[in-house]
């Protein structure tokens, strides 16, 4: 089973592609219209309107089924999950399934027939499951209809299993590969006539199948974008002004031109310079030797301290966005028998994907092409078009599977723009731009920094009567989507996980008097989504403070939560599932302590129990983590487990070590020696409980990361009796 890329054939229209691929491969494409899917895509996307054709399945004469995938694969397993959903309805032989990727140029030319391609927000499966399953089902109906016509019977007399069609009455059998050509000439079924399977009848979806994309990751043969080779290709290394917002004043090309292989040093944009050479190492070495003068600008006076000061002011500033204001929290707390107050903080974080940012661009007079690891191939296409000046129809992006994404390679596509700007200065030569790790650490779109001030009131019986939570921090929307901020300061996005509305990221507690506020305090540091985005910090603030309140009430951390969760049964169910699996309340070995947390994000419910040990010298080890997740339909349970395990590693890297500090307007941390990442020896034993639920579709890649650190911090609180109110833990004295 191999993953093949269809987009590597440039300059072919979609229709021509279907004809030529049918001729070349001997197979054919089954096309069908799915108007309701189109409606959904049009509502979200950039190019609406009109009837569209959806093309998901190619059947080869030897029965191999090629399933087309529009979402990006970056390790999260969406490629396999989507193929399972199509194959389930197609009723093909899973052992004969392979996948191929759709390119954004073809998607656009087909009026976004394949729907949205952006892959973030844990949406890959949950927002495309309906139309991909209908795609598989429609293909099955056409194949059965073709067989029925050959045999002069009706399709409802036929059955199919693993691509073998049977007419029971006559004992005749045929295979998908034999009827596929005829099926392709039939009129697609009316989408309304398509009845999807009841998930309880699933045989391929819902099963812990192995991934389709493992083989070439084991022997070095997988071609990531960074590995691409094109004829006449030149290599670029890049450096932007280390101070955010600063600009490039000058550079002295003459000092490096005599170096082997070096072609030129070029200005990329107002803040950025690149060196182009015949190999990347020569370009990088020359860039390191290039004299550069920066105009550092106003940002150069900023530091972690000045930014923290600004955030601190926001914690008590008179004006803030009252996101939720139920009852009278301030009055309830003021009149409470017992008051609890705390201030929490979390730092900037870098994504540090293992594969550094890169993009290869080839420009011709009438065609612009880019090979790029991107979470948003359509945004990459738009960037390519804008930067090259060529219309979208003359641009194409070939999406390579990503060596990690985590939100870094979504909307901005900064590396695409840079590669185009360089390629424009080298006519006729494809340019491969690779960032060094140092550039990646210096110019990320960091997880935004925030602080949180909390106050709670308990009555005489230890019952929570009021909760006030104010976040002060940087807004992603302020840079990425200012129009989403009402009245210039009301940004709901930063309150992810605190909403009253069910469905996506609902607050799991009922509090009679509740005030949740946001004070936007921005800095010059670029920010963006980072796996789990705001659920990470918001879960830390809420869940660690709830532990403080529970302790003040003299209650057990689990029991106290339960009393607040009667109206949130799904939240409660995962909390109970994690507690039960972890043996909450049972004795632990000496020196081992437990913490618990729950939160909701990306349409899914998560809870965690952490067991940590703390030596007398204050050395912390996370020993075991039990995570419970209710993501609704579980398309591939073993890959869900892999995502949960991965979220623990990504979360703990942040919780234990992660911190990007600002000094003289730039990031201090530059590589893995000063931005440490969790290693195998520190990985706790992870146990995943998938809480079954068949009434919704939730995300998987991001939800569980939110509960990792609060559970660990609460375990440390249990160990020391002192609440942990800031991350990373490496900065705290725990002894």
């Amino acid at each position: 089973m191999k993953t093949r890329r269809i987009g590597n054939v440039p300059n072919v229209s979609r229709r021509r592609f279907i004809i030529s691929s049918a001729a070349a491969g001997g197979g054919l494409a089954l096309g069908f219209q799915i108007p309701f899917a189109i409606g959904a895509a049009a509502a979200k996307g950039a190019s609406p309107a009109g009837a569209e054709v959806n093309i998901w399945v190619v059947v080869k004469p030897d029965d191999r089924c090629v399933i087309r995938i529009a979402r990006s694969e970056m390790g999260q397993g969406t490629l396999t999950g989507l193929a399972q959903l199509v194959a389930e309805e197609l009723e093909c032989d899973w052992n004969k399934v392979s996948t191929e990727q759709v390119t954004p140029g073809r998607n656009l030319a087909s009026k976004r027939a394949w729907g949205e391609m952006g892959t973030g927000g844990s949406r890959g499966i949950r927002t495309s499951e309906d139309y991909v399953r209908r795609g598989g089902a429609a293909a099955r109906m056409l194949l059965l209809q073709a067989a029925a016509q050959q045999w002069n019977v009706t399709a409802d007399e036929l059955s199919v299993s693993e691509g073998v069609i049977t007419h029971a009455a006559s004992g005749r059998k045929t295979r998908y590969g034999k009827v596929a050509a005829a099926a392709a000439r039939l009129t697609p079924p009316d989408p309304k006539s398509i009845k999807l399977k009841d998930p309880k009848d699933w045989k391929i979806a819902g099963k812990p199948l192995q991934r389709l994309d493992t083989a070439d990751k084991l022997n070095g043969s997988k071609v990531y974008a960074i590995d691409l080779k094109l004829p006449r290709m030149l290599h670029a290394a890049i450096k932007a002004c280390p101070v955010f917002g600063g600009t490039l004043a000058s550079f002295d090309e003459s000092k490096i031109l005599s170096r082997p292989g070096v072609r030129r040093a070029v200005k990329v944009n107002a803040s950025t310079v690149a060196v182009v050479a015949d190999t990347w190492w020569r370009a990088k070495a020359a860039l390191d030797a290039l004299p550069i003068v920066w105009d550092e600008g106003a940002g150069a006076t900023e530091s972690s301290a000045t930014i923290a000061e600004r955030l601190k002011e926001g914690l008590t500033a008179p004006l803030a966005h009252a996101f939720r204001n139920e009852g009278d929290a301030l009055k309830a707390i003021a009149g409470a028998a017992k008051k609890i107050e705390a201030v929490y903080s979390t730092p900037f974080l870098a994504h540090a994907t293992m594969e550094p940012m890169n993009c290869t661009v080839k420009l011709a007079a009438d065609k612009a092409e880019a090979w790029v690891p991107t979470q948003n191939a359509e945004a990459a296409l738009a960037a390519l078009s804008e930067e090259s000046g060529l219309p979208l129809a003359q641009c194409e992006v070939y999406r390579h599977d990503l060596g990690g994404g985590f939100g870094r390679r979504g909307g901005k596509q900064d590396y695409v723009r840079q590669a185009v700007a360089i390629a424009k200065q080298f006519p006729g030569a494809p340019i491969k731009l690779i960032w060094s790790r140092e550039e990646d650490m210096a110019h990320d779109f960091y997880r935004p920094i925030s602080q949180c001030r909390l106050a709670a009131g308990l009555d005489e019986q230890g019952k929570l009567v009021g909760l006030h939570l104010r976040i002060s921090g940087q807004s992603i929307n302020a840079q990425a989507n200012p129009a989403a901020i009402k009245d210039g300061y009301k940004d709901d996005r930063q309150l992810q996980g605190y909403t009253d509305k069910p469905g996506d990221a609902q607050f799991g507690y009922s509090v009679p008097n509740l005030l949740i506020e946001y004070a936007m305090r921005n800095s010059h540091v670029p920010v963006g989504p980072w796996r789990g985005v705001n659920t990470n910090q918001n879960a830390v603030y809420l869940e660690c403070f709830i532990d403080e309140v529970a302790r003040a009430a003299g209650a057990d951390a689990l029991d106290f939560r339960r009393t607040l969760m009667a109206k949130h049964p799904k939240h409660l169910a995962v909390l109970n599932a994690a507690a039960e699996k972890a043996g909450w309340g049972t004795p632990l070995p000496a020196g081992v302590h437990r913490g618990i947390a729950q939160f909701m994000g990306y349409g899914s419910y998560s809870a965690a129990v952490a067991e940590v040990s703390l030596s007398r010298e204050g050395k912390l080890k996370v020993q075991r983590m039990v995570l419970a997740l209710n993501c609704g339909h579980a398309v591939n349970p073993q890959q869900i487990e892999a995502q949960v395990e991965g979220s623990v590693a990504y979360g703990l890297s942040a919780g234990l070590y992660g911190e990007c500090t600002v000094k003289n307007g730039r990031m201090v941390e530059s590589n893995f020696h000063d931005y440490p990442i969790l290693r195998l020896a520190e990985m706790p034993q992870v146990e995943t409980v998938i809480v079954p639920s068949h009434d919704f579709w939730g995300g998987v890649g991001e939800p569980t990361i939110s509960v990792v650190n609060p559970a660990v911090m609460n375990a440390v609180f249990a160990a020391t009796g002192k609440p942990v109110r800031s991350l990373p833990l490496k900065n705290l004295k725990l002894a």
């Binding site: 594969e355 060596g403 590693a649």
Partner: protein, 163 residues
């Protein structure tokens, strides 16, 4: 000019002697299975075997490599991914994005060559490569599985590590 013995073949390359072996492998020799992750011997994505020892090739100047040194990259580890480590990795679906896995596999193969039955602590000490996807739990299970396989063993695929 440098002479290198890579995956059993002697190759000549025209390159400055201070060029890291990693970039010679990737750019002059065109073997891109060995990855760039940090350039400072921190992450291990560039791990190769030099005379049987796992080494981080981003920190080895090519000028310090002798023509007699035997370098093995992921492409040369086995024919058709048949090394027990590769088989165990496949069986347990270890990779997520896969970018670091060449290095993880080379580190694991080196460990098992010296220590056929590593303990968890041995694995902790030997497997220091960074994986951002967080595949560590399966990496550990797969090293144990590969050890069993290499022994000619009865190790059955365990989907999960619940040690």
């Amino acid at each position: 000019m440098a002479k290198l013995n890579i995956n059993g073949k002697v190759r000549e390359v025209q390159v400055e002697p201070d060029t890291p072996l990693l970039w010679v492998i990737r750019e002059q020799l065109g073997l891109t299975g060995t990855k760039y992750g940090c350039g400072v011997a921190q992450c291990g994505a560039c791990s190769v075997h030099v005379n049987g020892e796992v080494q981080r090739s981003c920190a080895i100047p090519v000028g310090s490599v002798n023509a007699t040194d035997k370098i093995v990259t992921i492409e040369g580890l086995s024919a058709a991914s048949s090394h027990p480590v590769q088989q165990a990795w496949a069986q347990l679906d270890v990779p997520q994005c896969g970018y670091c896995q060449s290095g993880q596999i080379m580190a694991a193969a080196s460990l098992l060559a010296k220590n056929a039955q590593p303990t968890d602590q041995d694995i902790d000490e030997a497997m220091t490569n960074i994986c951002r996807c967080g595949t560590y739990q399966r990496v550990r299970a797969a090293v144990h599985l590969a050890a069993g396989m290499a022994k000619g063993g009865s190790a059955r695929a365990r989907r999960k590590s619940k040690a």
